[in-house]
Subunit: 305 residues, 2 copies
Amino acid sequence: MKIKELGEFGFIDLIAKMTKPSSGVIKGIGDDCAVLPFNRSNYLLFTCDMLVEDVDFTSRDKPYLIGRKSLGVCLSDIAACGGTPCYAQVSLGLPEDTSSKRAVELYQGIISQAKQFEVKIVGGDVSRSEKLVINVSLLGLVKHKDLILRKGAREGDVIFVSGSLGGSIYGKHLTFTPRLKEVKYIVNNYKPNSMIDISDGLIQDLSHILKQSNKGAVVFQELVPVSASARKLEEALYMGEDFELLFTLGLSQARRLIKSKKNKQFTAIGSIIDKPRSLVLFNRQGKRINFNPDKMSSVKGYKHF
Amino acid sequence: MKIKELGEFGFIDLIAKMTKPSSGVIKGIGDDCAVLPFNRSNYLLFTCDMLVEDVDFTSRDKPYLIGRKSLGVCLSDIAACGGTPCYAQVSLGLPEDTSSKRAVELYQGIISQAKQFEVKIVGGDVSRSEKLVINVSLLGLVKHKDLILRKGAREGDVIFVSGSLGGSIYGKHLTFTPRLKEVKYIVNNYKPNSMIDISDGLIQDLSHILKQSNKGAVVFQELVPVSASARKLEEALYMGEDFELLFTLGLSQARRLIKSKKNKQFTAIGSIIDKPRSLVLFNRQGKRINFNPDKMSSVKGYKHF
């Protein structure tokens, strides 16, 4: 069997079974970050993301923006757990005919993103490689009380997204802003029951929340905020690379967020239901489309394999 | 200018200048691990290494051994700082025609290495990639008093290596044992002034110690323990991939280590001298070869560019 038949999430499930949960680890494989013991008031968050030429960017993209994206996707993971980023390591695989100028611009992009969010770059690795590959590993901290995982969604929760979705691969995937400020506002004023960042498409990422929370969801297609750069609604549902937040709030908190005059960036799109793992999408004609998040291959969205 | 003209270490120096030392970071770019604040008795160690197909291994190597190596090189970095490894993240870039069996064997290799040194695998990333790429990020802890950096070498220190060197690329680079047990013995019984792991060749890695310590060294070629797999002495001096420890001890401690009946694995090969950055190699004919570690391009050893 080839890895593409097993599928990206089939492979990750397999790895998670092989490694097993470890004692002393608050959360291991299967969330946006690993959550580790740190001190009396904070957990340590630990995440990594690998960007590969011709998959996550092309050789025609500006190296400065590729650099910004490589750290940005990790920052988005820290945001999705409610945390604050601290220290990064950068591994670069560079083709040997790369110009020094290009390599330096790439690194300037990483540094500018790091400065913006007060992240310290503390090390890395450089290797020769046929195609450009960048792996960023990021540490962050989160207060015990602020930690949000994928698994906490409750029946009756309202589902929210930040910003607008779709069409990111036409450009925004290189210039998006990791939602660290937004998540700070949320954890300081509300208590989300579950959260994930939308990297592989709204529906697919929601299905991770449902799977880990053992819940279902109803999503109203008409409520989904579609980005101006999306060419059709489907891109807001399935395309990925949005790096917006997807989270759930209990009913009374949800009402407060919707009413809040400060809220311009969060949109309610549906509800959590107690029908484990079924994902019902109402479209404009009132037709329902059902998904089974247990079979990730049946859930539309971005998959590497 | 191409990156290969700037050179691997020229590029790293440039990055180090761009990022600058940060307040609150005990040691950033330029050592085997980043050293970060943790608690009253320990520092947090943070390191990463990227292995690339056709550079660090070939598609003909056993995936299980490639997996073991990918974590092993990071374990060697933690050892070189005197620490104990704890948590790892694994990013995999996999060609889409990879068989599931091969991908699983690779991961089994990582897990077996992790179990051997009580490391917990807490997350990672999976991506499509033309060639196989593996990036491991590793966290560890080190007691404040046990931390060893590259920069502490003192005049009169004796230079030691663990094990034997050379010829590793003929096979041992896939089966080496990270020197965590050995470093534990050293930090529990001695107080090394500087340490590095030998990944790019004895002479080149020694030159990093000299550069950062602002010292020089005399090495006696005849004293260098040559591995049975090395085809000639030069391979023990310049080849790399040994993943042995290179460290310096003050004279009285050095005498104690040399006399110790328990010492079968550490060999004295020379001394630190107060002639900043000059590296003098006495060969069998008594001829001297001088290096200038400030010009890394003049120092023989493995370089990616």
